[in-house]
Symmetry: C2
Subunit: 664 residues, 2 copies
């Protein structure tokens, strides 16, 4: 195939230093360097090939994933990769597998919930992968409501053991990744029962399979829960079902950092504050926000490049047709998603800082910022994952019919991403937690307790309840202070309205429940404000590189004004802005789209994604889409033969009238 | 498994006659009867089993579809089914296949575009399936822009033949269903060239494969274009690629009803009005709207039933937890979708009438209503398919984690449905056509030309531009006249605003292009008004059956007020309603949700869908979800063996430290 850069003309139009933007996106020169090396390492290794993934049957697909996981582990060891490098390498292998749960959930569970002694025993085994662990929390009957889990861990003082048991069908562990076929161990969450008393949910390390022959241990029934959404996608993962029939484990396999059971069966709280467990939650959700920006940026990269390649309509005098990226309808759907990818990247970066800050405070026994940090990460997890799932699907639609082909990469990206809206806290349940925190904050206004962190603006509620937006011309919408105040005013007003309506109800609980749909909207407004404000803060920093800061400013304004347009009802209903000002915001948005247009391809180049990682014919770096789409088509198994299997049995008889009833 | 109706209590709460509602949903007693018989026929026949579909590899899946198609044809003949029955049977087989294109596109193309003589020759062959046809229009490089197709059909007066040719890679036919592996013939769309002159796109009947051994004819390259979104889903279809290398066909295989080429190579228009071709488009899009209501109602049925089964949180004193359908957040997402399913059903019914009306007029050479009918069907196709695709995915999310399993039926329903947003006119392109028609209508206001049909309300623009909504209490939002006027005012004001802004641009074309994002919103407003008004008209008819009309009134109001809430920005920005009135609409909406709640399960029972057609463990009629989810899991191929294939090669070596570098 010819080696021409079909997007060279687009790249030549960029008005900023792409290499400098790559550093901004990666977070640092070092991070860019590591990512770049690991991405190339994966892309150049034929074992990590993934273009055939959507055509494989379940068994073949799964075996291939096992192969990749083993090969990745081999390479990590051979090359003596650092922890940072190893985790980057796994990222670019880009295939869900048991390894994710081992490193992402099992190891952190032991670290966070195990005593020093337990960590000393289990972590080295896990670090060397001499044992492989998963995280067995959710059950067939309970996901969101962790306190409703039914699996029991009953202490037997006679033998100094816990008896792990699944008392009902709905208590079957259900969903844990890596459980179905691979894990040798699990962190199992169960109701702790001592002497007939239920102490609620606690964690236990339970061996599931023999380390000799991998067969499930006695009393353990275990399997895969079946096919999931999409081709390839999460079908590479052995999400599992697990039932315990009175399985005994030694007492010291309860994770005892925060509370413990003594030899005598006494239940004790340790002096380690339980709040530490919240720190882990902040950590996990921060990584989810960071993943959201990766997934959305991949989709945007594919859609931007293909929109620059694809031409349709508008040919004049026999000249070429118009690039679809030049249509305003395309721009108004695509550019807000590009801006969102950047917005989520920067709020993710800030969350990393927040996690460090919370950790430091926790170590100093300062729990004051924890509720706010918890609400903030819950809300941002919800908002960014929902927007990303919708955004990927929108990017797919922006690629027209060809986006429906697996070779576009977008169907699998959607299917593999979308569970993020449900796992680690259902997005609606999380927003209600944010709303509850907001209602509490509102109720304390004027009581002397000053709202902190991302809710600090609520301390200015009195001003924000009555301030008037002073936009008079479209250019006023470029002022960060104007945007911030509009978003703050909207968030405060929605929250205060909810609080007032709740106060009219028979009880606060009843009011909260009755108004919960409105509360979701208030929580969304609060989270969008956080994202806008962190983007503005980012842009106010020193950012080196020709034109880089300018582009980020445009993206920041596109993000803010497109959110404003989408939620216009909120802004108008609360009187934060007028219809005239809304119309000016729209005018400004159109102008911003024109400004970003020549930079669009360069802005997705700045993600520095390899063709392997993108996994999309439509998103190829060189834009050489059509010959490659054509070539990909022939790889389908149906094309193995010209005349399809089944012709003699099921097509020929139709054509030859074998099924015609005599009467006709 | 026990035979208990876990939803019996829900069913006992219904306040209306479900059997009477079944008749309303089906359209008539006769339609209900036919649908019921055909659905049971399919459900009871093991060949039509589909619960294993998402686990099959591509080849196996495709062969199985060929088997089902042949079996369906056999049964249709054996049982001497009527056309109506046969098409219902195909509907309930519920699997995309070449048959859809043969009956849905190939046959109608010959009927609509063939001369009487051509129909006499080809239709009997097609009716008996002695030939199998597809519809080869879109190409690799062109979808929406039909006029840009590149395939040529050059008349050769020497041999009295057309030479069909693919001059470029991008001219390859790409996407046609049934083309890749099955069709013997195709309606091929190509640029007609006579004597060096290009007459634009015309249709031709081209034989593709030998009727003896199914091999492609000389000069024809043909294959499948590869895997598509989702497990099962459209992977049962052989969407194809096709290239012609100077393929010759007799002159009489050009579809010549509207224009023809004479023996001498002269291009002539016949006296058949070309507008007849638009009639076909109205027909096809009307069926798409009707399919939208089917797809959305299936998803809503699954989500409603499962939301009544699933319990989470809210247990008091050890009692059962709260059914998730009782949460206001669940209701505010789910009930508008249930209402939309009904709304789309009734607007689809009305479109059927519209098609009949247009056809009658065309036969009487009355073209006056055609542009309006065309815009209306284009817009409704766009609106209902987008809302349905989003709605199915929302229903999936409303089922929490288990909705991500293929056994929930929702992933496949989404994947198989979503191309409806792109085929038969990309939804955004269609909305722009509607917008163009609206701008034309606005420009003619006051000129004496009265707007007709669904745009008649624009004749009252002067009143609607300045009318004030007189809602004072939440109950005022139940008045059809109030709702209608608010929707009419919003639609007119958005359209007139666009027209005014366009008039400020350098040229109308430039203005239209610059403001196209706003124009989309005006088009959406117009289409939503149509749906609301047709629902209101339906509810104003006599509807027999205890409580049936009352439920439909509630659904109608839920549809209208939830659309109003979602697009609140429009209503407020155009001053159609005040913030206070918006808040009252919200209050009314909450009350409507409470009213529909006890009827929700019965309202989805009224769709009369079999468990086979629903294809969802979560949506089972008896609500016995958990044991069946558990049982389904074990059918996954990964559970064929306890220790997975790949253990010795890829898991054991990891655990046994085979990959550890010596240094570590």
């Amino acid at each position: 195939m010819e080696e021409v850069d079909h997007l060279a003309h687009e790249r030549s139009k960029a008005q900023f230093d792409v290499d400098a933007m790559k550093v901004v996106w990666a977070g640092s020169k070092h991070a860019l360097d590591v990512a770049d090396r690991m991405a190339r390492l994966v892309a150049s290794d034929p074992v990590f090939r993934k273009d055939n993934r959507t055509m494989l049957g379940r068994k073949e697909l799964f075996k291939n994933t096992l192969r990749k996981a083993a090969h990745a582990w081999k390479r990590i060891n051979e090359l003596h990769l650092t922890e940072e490098e190893a985790s980057m390498l796994r990222l670019f292998v880009d295939e869900p597998s048991y390894v994710d749960l081992h490193w992402g959930m099992f190891v952190p569970a032991i670290k966070g919930q195990g005593t020093d002694e337990q960590q000393k025993k289990w972590l080295p085994l896990a670090y060397k992968m001499q044992i492989i662990g998963c995280y067995a929390q959710t059950e067939l009957g309970h996901g969101s409501n962790v306190q409703g889990l039914e699996t029991t861990a009953t202490f037997d003082p006679k033998s100094d053991e816990f008896i792990i048991h699944s008392p009902t069908l709905t208590s079957s562990k259900w969903w844990p990744g890596g459980l179905g076929k691979v894990s040798t161990h699990a962190a199992v969450y169960a109701r702790l029962i001592t002497d007939g008393k239920d102490h609620g949910i606690h964690g236990f390390i339970v061996q599931l399979r023999s380390l000799d022959d991998h067969s499930p241990l006695p009393g353990i029934t275990i399997g895969d829960i079946g096919t999931k959404f999409g081709n390839g996608a999460y079908n590479t993962m052995d999400n599992g079902v697990l039932q315990f029939d009175h399985v005994r484990i030694p007492r010291n396999q309860m994770l005892m950092r925060v509370s413990q059971v003594t030899r005598e069966g006494k239940y004790l709280r340790s002096d380690v504050p339980w709040q530490l467990l919240y720190g882990t939650m902040v950590y996990v959700r921060q990584t989810i926000v960071s993943d959201a920006s990766k997934a959305l940026s991949r989709a945007a990269c594919i859609a931007v490049r293909y929109s620059a390649v694809r031409r349709q309509f508008g040919s004049q005098d026999g000249g070429p047709e118009t690039q679809v990226i030049d249509y305003k309808t395309q721009q108004s759907r695509l550019f807000p998603l590009l801006a969102s990818a950047y917005a989520f990247r920067f709020v993710g970066e800030w969350l990393k800082w927040l996690y460090a800050d919370v950790t430091q405070r926790l170590q100093a026994n300062d729990f004051s910022t924890l509720p706010e940090a918890h609400a903030c990460t819950a809300g941002l997890k919800s908002l960014t994952t929902s927007a990303t799932a919708d955004g990927i699907e929108e990017c797919r639609k922006l690629c027209g019919g060809h986006g429906y082909l697996c070779s576009s990469g977008l169907p699998e990206l959607f299917a593999v991403y979308v569970p993020a809206c449900t796992y680690e806290g259902d997005n609606v349940v999380l927003l209600l937690q944010v709303a509850r925190f907001l209602m509490k904050t509102v109720s304390q206004l004027g009581s002397g307790t000053q709202p902190v962190g991302t809710t600090a603006y609520m301390g200015r509620a009195q001003h924000l309840m009555q301030c008037k937006c002073d936009v008079r011309g479209a250019e006023d919408w470029l002022k960060p202070s104007v945007i911030l105040e509009a978003f703050e005013a909207r968030a405060v007003r929605l929250a205060v309205n909810c609080a007032q309506n709740i106060s009219k109800a028979a009880s606060p609980e009843e009011g909260f429940s009755e108004l919960s749909a409105d509360l979701l909207e208030a929580a969304v407004a609060h989270c969008q404000l956080i994202i806008v404000s962190k983007f503005i803060e980012k842009v106010q920093q020193d950012i080196p590189g020709h034109g880089v800061k300018g582009q980020l400013q445009i993206l920041c304004n596109i993000y803010a004004l497109s959110v404003l347009h989408k939620h216009l009802g909120d802004f108008l209903a609360t009187g934060c802005i007028t219809s005239k000002q809304a119309s000016l915001a729209n005018d400004q948005l159109r102008s911003l789209y024109s400004q970003i247009r020549p930079n669009a391809v360069a802005l997705v180049d700045a993600f520095n994604y390899t063709n392997h990682y993108l996994g999309s014919v439509l998103g190829r770096y060189d834009g050489n889409v059509y010959p490659n789409l054509y070539e990909e088509a022939w790889k389908d198994p149906l094309n193995d033969s010209v005349v399809p299997d089944g012709y003699r049995e099921y097509i020929q008889p139709v054509l030859k009238q074998k099924f015609r009833a005599s009467r006709l």
